[in-house]
Amino acid sequence: MRSDAAGILSLAVLGLLVMAALAAPLLTPYHYNEGSVTERLLPPFSPGHVLGTDALGRDLLTRIIYGSRVSLLVGAASVLLAGTIGTVIGLLSGYLGGRFDRMVTRIIDAQLSFPFMILALTLAALLGPSLRNVIITLVVSSWVIYARLVRGQVLEEREREYVQAARALGASTARVTFRHLLPNVVPNVIVLASLEVGRMIIAEASISFLGYGIQPPLPSWGKMVAEGKDYLFTAWWISALSGAAIGLTTLCANLAGDWLRDRVGR
């Protein structure tokens, strides 16, 4: 269905983005927070500023490259943390059953009936705006998805013969869950995680867009779109380019995730 070319290409682009993010100081002649009052709101292709400048005279290309650090970091960290927590809880809940499982299921259902953005925004508003809090917010809002998936799978797997065999041989709960069940659960978790990266990047951008996320001096693409909103009539490139960066990164993450799913998924 989807050709391998798209998937591999997007993985390559993602790799480039990561490298650009890491090598940011080498690629940009300007500092991301140094504005020049005389060079405000310059359009793209102005001399010295390929992508133009924002309202404070800061070079847009620089800010976009530095902004990729934030987005990629948030995407990766939130998915790793939420995935780990969700997987562990899902494993234990599915395997142990009983009251623990019932309680976990209630929590999962309760949280899933909350619209994701509302929950995330409420948490972000309560915790205060910062990079660390954004990651916490996203992790708390999204761990349930992994838990639900893993739990469902564990419920299936737990009746299989290899599990029964392990238990007959005297394996402890810990051994059965982590040595036997976990490896069978991980592929689907990885597929889910790869699709969640894009969603987390957009979620962070939305939270920052509304003002609850990353604060200056760190540049966040979402915040940049919000800053550009006031200049939509005149300096539209600020919002347009920042948002395009978000879209491009998410697109690559999604395509890579699709490719992964085609290769790995059952």
Binding site: F114, P115, I118
Partner: protein, 291 residues
């Protein structure tokens, strides 16, 4: 069957109770509510009066019981302090607006998404299929606030065809609905396409074809019926989600809906207002999920 209903009802109640409790505690976690309500330079007596008026000087479990009692017995969501009117009234004022937007968006998504998905599946591998999937993937990757802003840029700022926001007259509906519909349509296209593809490969389809039925009959009369099952599920889920008000879209278009109202009061750390907003989302979602 009755037993299922009971369990469903009991679980819903427990879920709602959990949510209500969570809202109660979340609202108090952000600091002494009396301090938040009072103006910055208010003298201590004023703060103390506020405390007394809203029972904030009672022990926390007393407050909790009162809160539950008011909620369950009287449907009392509390008073909006800023505007001295019932929080419930305020929420009810804007309550219909979000569902209207959501309903329109889902309708448009279905009208565009389902035929496109079917077409893509039936003509698998053709340019239509590839274009549809590419468009769907692209739309799902764009942040919706940015798509909304770009639409405003093109249609309001440059072309002056449509208003930038608010809820006045049919023109102001076009862009918000479109913004919400983009994402939903993309989801539907992908879902319908994969669902129809699954059905097309099944035994009964082969039987129908070998009976000599025209392809169109096979598709419309048999395949579609089965393929649309997951679509129905997703429709209810999407409606449930969107009913709560898409905060971002509503903010960009200044649409007076639940999401934005809850947002503005979350912004002011308003004690009582955010609660009804949360509960509305929950109520909408429960019926959708139960289905």
């Amino acid at each position: 069957m009755t037993r299922l209903l009971f369990t469903g009802a009991r679980d819903t109640i427990i879920t709602i109770w959990l949510v209500v409790t969570a809202v109660f505690f979340l609202m108090r976690l952000s600091g002494d509510p009396a301090l938040l309500m009072a103006p910055i330079d208010a003298p201590d007596e004023v703060i103390q009066q506020i405390r007394q008026r809203y029972d904030l000087d009672e022990p926390i479990w007393v407050q909790y019981v009162t809160y539950l009692r008011r909620l369950v017995l009287h449907g009392d969501f509390g008073t909006s302090l800023r505007q001295s009117e019932s929080a419930l009234a305020r929420v009810l004022e804007v309550a219909p607006n979000s569902p209207i937007l959501a309903g329109l968006a889902v309708l448009v998504s279905l009208l565009i998404g389902v035929p496109t998905g079917v077409l893509a599946a039936v003509r698998r591998g053709s340019w239509i299929d590839r274009a549809a999937v590419a468009a769907a993937t692209l739309l799902q990757s764009m942040p919706n606030f940015w798509v909304a802003l770009m639409m405003i840029l093109v249609f309001s700022v440059r072309l002056h065809w449509l208003p930038t926001g608010g809820m006045r007259g049919p023109e102001s509906y076009v862009m918000p609905v479109a913004a919400l519909a983009f994402l939903t349509t993309a989801r539907f296209v992908r879902l319908v396409r994969s669902s129809v593809l699954d059905e097309l490969g099944s035994d009964y389809t082969r039987t129908a074809r070998s009976k000599g039925l025209a392809e169109r009959v096979v598709v419309f009369k048999h395949v579609l019926r089965n393929a649309l099952n997951p679509v129905i599920t997703m429709t209810t889920l999407q409606l449930g989600t969107l009913f709560g008000g898409s905060v971002v879209t509503e903010t960009v278009f200044a649409w007076p809906g639940l999401g934005r109202t809850g947002q503005r009061h979350r912004h002011r750390r308003h004690l009582r207002r955010a609660e009804p907003g949360h509960r509305r989302d929950l109520r909408r979602h429960q019926p959708g999920g139960a289905l």
